[in-house]
C-alpha cells in the first residue's frame, strides 16, 4: 500500500526540488507554529516520515469543517500535505460511493490496523437517539467504536466532534456527545472551532506526519501550539482595552476607531485559538478585525454560555473566577467596564422580572 512510502519519496515523485522541499518545510514549520530555527529539524523528520493512512469519518455535522479545510489559503503546501498522507476514506471527498466506498474503508482499516490516524468531524448521538445519525445503515456510535479501536490516534475536527458542539446545545435533542466522551483508551487530539482555522487543522496533521507523535495538549485536549494563548492576549485591539477605550455599539465612533469589543460581548479573554495571528480568508482578516467580537467557538459548550452580545462579566460564560482573572489582567479601566457591564446585567434582570 502507498502508505509505506516516505514523505520525501512522495515529494520527489512530484518533481519537487530540494529548494522546493526546503520551502515546503519552512511553510510547514510556520503552519505548525514552530520557530523558523526548527526548519532544519522539520526537513530531516519529513524526509524520513512514513506516509500515514488516514480515515476520515463525518458524523452528525454540517460539513463546514471540511469546507473550511478545502478552502485553506496555502493550497500548494496543504495540497502536498494531503498528497503526503494516504487519505483512504472520506465519503464527501472520495470519488467512490456505495459499497465500493465501504469496501475501500474496510480494506484500509484491515491493512493499517493499529496504525492509521482517525479523523472525525461531527458529534455522536447516543442513547435512544443513536440511530438519528447513520452511514450505510451503521450508527455513528457503532462506527466510532469499531474504527476507533484500530486507530493509532484520533483527531477530532471541529467543536462538534471535540465536545459535542452545536448538536449538543441545550436541549440536546439527540443526546449528542463528543469523541472523548466515548473513546477512553486512545490518544485524542481535539482541534475545535466552528469551523477550525484551516491552517490549524493542517498544522496538526503536519505535526503528526513530521514527528509521528501527539503534540503537547492543553486540559481540553487541544494542541498548545495553536490553543496555548487566548485571543485577548494576542488581539491587536488589546492596547485599547488597557486604556479603557471600548466600542459601545457596533457603529459608534469607538467601533470606527477600532476600540476594544469587550463591552459588546467579545469572548476573547476566555477563548483559546489562533485566529488573532493566523487569521482567515488568505490571512485577510478575522472576526475581531472585521468588527465583531469573538464568540468563543473553540471552547466547550460555547453555544450555551449566554448571548454572544453580553459582556463576559454579565453573561454566563465561565465562572466569576475566570472573568475576574481576565479583568484583573487588564487595567483598572477594564475593571470599570466589568462593573458597568454587571450594572447593565442587573438592570436587564430587573426589567425581565418586571
Amino acid at each position: 500500500m502507498a502508505a509505506s512510502k516516505t514523505v520525501g519519496d512522495v515529494l520527489r515523485a512530484h518533481g519537487v526540488s530540494r529548494r522546493g522541499f526546503m520551502k515546503f518545510c519552512a511553510a510547514t514549520a510556520s503552519m505548525m507554529a514552530l520557530p523558523p530555527s526548527m526548519v532544519g529539524a522539520v526537513a530531516a523528520a519529513i524526509e524520513k516520515a512514513r506516509r500515514p493512512s488516514v480515515i476520515w469519518l463525518p458524523f452528525q455535522e454540517c460539513t463546514g469543517c471540511l469546507e473550511s479545510l478545502t478552502r485553506s489559503h496555502t493550497p500548494t503546501v496543504e495540497g502536498l500535505i494531503f498528497d503526503s498522507i494516504s487519505l483512504d476514506y472520506n465519503h464527501t471527498l472520495q470519488a467512490a460511493s456505495g459499497q465500493r466506498a465501504e469496501d475501500a474503508l474496510d480494506k484500509a482499516v484491515e491493512e493499517n490496523w493499529g496504525n492509521y490516524l482517525l479523523l472525525v468531524d461531527g458529534s455522536i448521538p447516543t442513547g435512544e437517539f443513536e440511530a438519528y445519525s447513520c452511514t450505510n445503515g451503521h450508527t455513528h456510535l457503532e462506527m466510532l467504536k469499531k474504527y476507533g479501536a484500530g486507530a493509532a490516534a484520533i483527531v477530532t475536527i471541529g467543536t462538534c466532534a471535540a465536545y459535542g458542539g452545536l448538536p449538543k446545545a441545550n436541549p440536546n435533542p439527540t443526546q449528542a456527545v463528543g469523541v472523548q466522551d466515548i473513546i477512553k483508551d486512545k490518544p485524542i487530539i481535539n482541534v475545535p472551532g466552528c469551523p477550525p482555522v484551516p491552517v490549524v487543522m493542517t498544522g496538526v496533521l503536519a505535526h503528526y506526519l513530521t514527528f509521528g507523535t501527539i503534540p503537547e495538549l492543553d486540559k481540553y485536549g487541544r494542541p498548545m501550539a495553536f490553543f496555548g494563548q487566548n485571543i485577548h492576549d494576542r488581539c491587536y485591539r488589546r492596547p485599547f482595552y488597557e486604556r479603557g477605550l471600548f466600542a459601545k455599539t457596533f457603529d459608534d465612533e469607538g467601533a470606527k476607531k477600532g476600540y476594544c469589543l469587550y463591552e459588546l460581548g467579545c469572548k476573547g479573554p476566555v477563548t483559546y485559538n489562533a485566529c488573532a495571528t493566523v487569521k482567515w480568508n488568505e490571512g485577510v482578516s478575522w472576526p475581531v478585525q472585521s468588527g465583531h467580537g469573538c464568540i468563543g467557538c473553540s471552547e466547550p459548550d460555547f453555544w450555551d454560555k449566554g448571548s454572544f452580545y453580553r459582556p463576559l462579566s454579565a453573561a454566563y460564560w465561565g465562572d466569576l473566577k475566570t472573568v475576574g482573572v481576565s479583568a484583573a489582567a487588564g487595567a483598572a479601566a477594564g475593571l470599570a467596564a466589568a462593573v458597568l457591564a454587571r450594572g447593565k446585567q442587573k438592570k436587564s434582570q430587573q426589567e425581565e422580572k418586571a
Binding site: M22, K23, S30, A33, P35, S37, G258, T277
Partner: protein, 141 residues
Amino acid sequence: MNRLSDIGVKVESGGVAEPELRGNALPLLHEIRHALARLVDEGEPTVIDVQSIPMGPGDVKRLMDALGEGEVKAELDALGKTIIRESRYSGVWIIEHMNTSGGIASRFVEITWVPSILQAQAEDVRKGLKELADALAPAGS
C-alpha cells in the same frame, strides 16, 4: 473575479486611531535592529515568521513601507512562486511565498548575508550534474 482582493470593499472610518496603539510594526522593527546587530557582531542569522505575530490593520503595510526596497530582488519558482527581496537595510531580506491564487501564503523577514533558499542545494546540484552528463553522453564527451 476569482480572488478575494478583487472584491470591492470600501472601508469607512469615522476617525483614525493612534497607530502606536495598535502597532506591532515598530516593536518588530526594533527586533530586526537587534537581529541585524547580532549578524554584524556575531555572524548569527535570524528568521522572523511575520505570520506568527498578531498584526492589526495596516501593520504589515507599515512594516513593509518602513523596510522599503533594496538592491536585490529574486523570484523563485518551486512549489509556487516566492519573491525574495532585500530591504533598504542591507542584510534584511523579505521572503514571501505566494499561493496559487497570488495571495501571500507565508512571509518571513530573514536577517542574514544571503537567504539560504537562494543558494543552490547540494542535492539539486548533484542531479543537475548527472543530467548534464547524460545530455552530453550521446556526443561522446
